[in-house]
């Protein structure tokens, strides 16, 4: 008896897949399609207007530039934190480890007002700093650092844990100093994970809204981030403008993510199987 369709052994395929696809369509695909439709429906003139608007360009520079700076800072300190958590022991280590996920769990608005309180000129930290942080582009970067802390730490930690101790011992037996061993043995091993963490941190920071709008000055052309610009356009009922900026932001973000993915793929091929 020949079979025309593949019959599944474990029951429930059709209903679960059906429900999954229906849910995704309703919640994700159709709304996103609305965005794509609207964006595609705009004329070239509209696109050009958006791309050359000084305010838009300034916002993009701030969002992407700030996110890059924050991601790099998080890369550096995230690696440091992961190293300290994995390699050293000190009282309260477990507590600190659990706290790393705070930016994930804390609502962005709460983070926003808390950071502002801290870094305002009269705040606990702000009063000791030589430059003003709150209400300036620097404040934006500080907020972006906050929300990106867990990404690097959490992607690097497991890889660091898996680094074979024997590799480091071999390096030591061949005469390498600890800094050399770190630079030549450990760093290359965690490199891909570090890059992943940095790009995740970057991607999150670019789109972040709640944590940033309180501490940023939100001055157009100076300290205004792209998400805020979109919201402003919406409040003015400029749907077209908002869509244009949003579509542009998505395009640039996806392009960057693709570039990072390709870079990692190339890196993986170069190194052979992942450690």
């Amino acid at each position: 008896m020949a079979k025309g369709i593949a019959r599944r052994i474990i029951p429930g395929f059709a209903p679960t897949l059906g429900l999954t696809l229906a849910y995704l369509s309703l919640v994700v695909l159709i709304p996103l399609a609305a965005l794509v439709l609207k964006a595609a429906g705009m004329g070239a003139a509209q696109w050009l207007d958006t791309l050359t608007d000084a305010r838009v360009l300034a916002a993009f520079k701030l969002s992407f530039g700030g996110a890059l700076a924050a991601a790099l800072v998080n890369g550096l300190f995230g690696l440091l934190i992961a190293w300290v958590l994995v390699r050293y022991s000190f009282p309260g280590r477990k507590l600190v480890d659990a706290l790393i996920d705070l930016p994930f769990a804390l609502p962005t608005a709460v983070a926003g007002i808390a950071l502002t309180a801290l870094y305002a000129p009269a705040g606990w930290i702000g009063r000791f700093l030589p430059v003003q942080v709150a209400f300036t582009p620097l404040g934006v970067v500080v907020a972006m650092i906050f929300i990106g802390v867990p990404f690097v730490v959490r992607t690097v930690e497991p890889v660091l844990q898996d680094v074979d101790a024997e590799l480091e011992e071999a390096a030591a037996s061949l005469g390498a100093s600890r800094p050399q061993t770190f630079r030549l043995v450990v760093l290359p091993a965690v490199g891909p994970a570090l890059l992943t963490g940095i790009s995740l941190s970057f991607a999150r920071a670019v789109g972040e809204y709640g944590s940033i709008i309180f501490i940023a000055g939100n001055l157009p052309g100076v300290s205004e981030i792209v998400p805020l610009l979109i919201v402003t356009k919406l409040e003015q009922y400029d749907y077209v403008g908002a869509t244009a900026i949003a579509a542009l932001m998505l395009l640039v973000s996806f392009a960057m993510l693709l570039a990072v993915n390709l870079l990692q793929k190339w890196n993986r091929q170069r190194m052979g199987a992942a450690s």
């Binding site: 008896m1 020949a2 079979k3 593949a6 019959r7 052994i9």
Partner: protein
């Protein structure tokens, strides 16, 4: 009685089963033997209803089972990696099949408990009823899996490489024990293995498979003594493979002449088992290159006049009696030589 007819199953471009037909009589313990990729596990899973064939049919006790769902087939299946329910105790695992029955078919709680107890005693795990799978050894888990499959009183028991993941000693013990169990219960059973020793030791009947086809079906003795195809010959036991040329129903293999009725003229292949070669000191035809003592047997690596390598296995006494040394020229008598035409290989 299980009847499998013209079963075919493909996974993408790979043909797992190619027109396989088989009949398993009641009460027998049958082995599906073959290397990986031979289709044996696929066949077993189709019998269980865990896979659907692309063509062909399966009849269980005269009824067409192809349309019957797994849960209704009343077939007990023992998985290679046991598939015990990790969050249930041993008792709960074994009782599962009885607990999921609905309505009148479901026995009372006391009855279920009694049956589970009996089965656990049967598999000699009585004291471990409250343990969890993670607390058991591999051999113990396998026995729980067996008890669980037997609890539903299946009409057919299927085992997928049941002892593959166990240590050698545990494997030996469990093999013996499974055979005893089968003799006591008389349940029709089919098991899959790639280990020829296991198949020959356990089974009433062995089905040798290769590349999705059945090569031979027979009792362990039969397939060992009279392999039907070159594959079976080489898969079971050691074999010397030599070139032969056939002319007029007679095959020339080295210095040997063998009757080869029905085989067409031309090139062919000859198989000789190492332990079916006798060594003597008269009429030398080969020289001993190397000899190794392997327990009760001595393996001789010989070279024929034309350089062909041949392996012989003789017992220690004969070896000592003839005082064989490396380099010594010896005569060879082959008690049995099996000839196949070139195109059969």
């Amino acid at each position: 009685m299980i009847h499998v007819e013209h079963l075919t199953k493909r996974f993408g471009a790979f043909t797992a089963l190619d027109d396989v037909s088989l009949a398993v009589p009641d009460g027998r313990l049958v082995a599906l033997l073959g290397p990986s990729g031979s289709g044996k596990t696929t066949l077993l899973r189709i019998l269980a209803g865990l896979d659907h064939p692309d063509a062909g049919s399966v009849h269980l006790d005269g009824l067409d089972a192809t349309a019957v769902k797994t849960r209704d087939r009343r077939v007990g299946f023992v998985f290679q990696h046991y598939a015990l329910f990790r969050h249930m105790s041993v008792t709960e695992n074994v009782a599962f099949g009885l607990n999921v029955r609905k309505g009148p078919g479901k026995p009372a709680k006391a009855e279920i408990a009694r049956r589970v107890g009996t089965l656990l005693d049967l598999v000699q795990l009585g004291g471990l009823a409250g343990r969890y799978p993670s607390q058991l050894s591999g051999g113990q888990r396998q026995r729980v899996a067996l008890a669980r499959a037997l609890a539903v009183e299946p009409r057919l028991l299927l085992l997928d490489e049941p002892f593959g993941a166990l240590d050698a000693q545990v494997r030996k013990d469990l093999r013996r024990w499974l055979r005893q169990l089968h003799d006591e219960m008389g349940l029709t059973s089919v098991f899959v293995t790639h280990d020829q020793e296991e198949a020959l030791e356990l089974a009433d009947e062995v089905v040798v498979m290769s590349k999705g086809r059945i090569e031979q079906i027979g009792s362990p003795a039969e397939i060992y003594d009279n392999p039907a195809t070159p594959f079976v010959f080489q898969f079971l036991g050691n074999a010397n493979r030599l070139e032969a040329s056939i002319a007029g129903g007679v095959a020339r293999v080295g210095h040997w002449r063998v009757a080869a009725p029905g085989i067409p003229d031309g090139p062919g292949v000859a198989f000789i088992r190492p332990h079916e070669i006798d060594v003597d000191l008269a009429d030398p035809v080969a020289a001993i290159r190397h000899q190794v003592v392997l327990g009760p047997v001595v393996r001789l690596d010989l070279a024929l006049a034309d350089g062909t390598a041949v392996e012989a296995a003789i017992d220690r006494e004969t070896h000592a009696r003839l005082a064989l040394r490396p380099g010594q020229p010896v005569g060879l008598t082959a008690r049995r030589i099996r000839i196949f035409a070139e195109n059969e290989v």
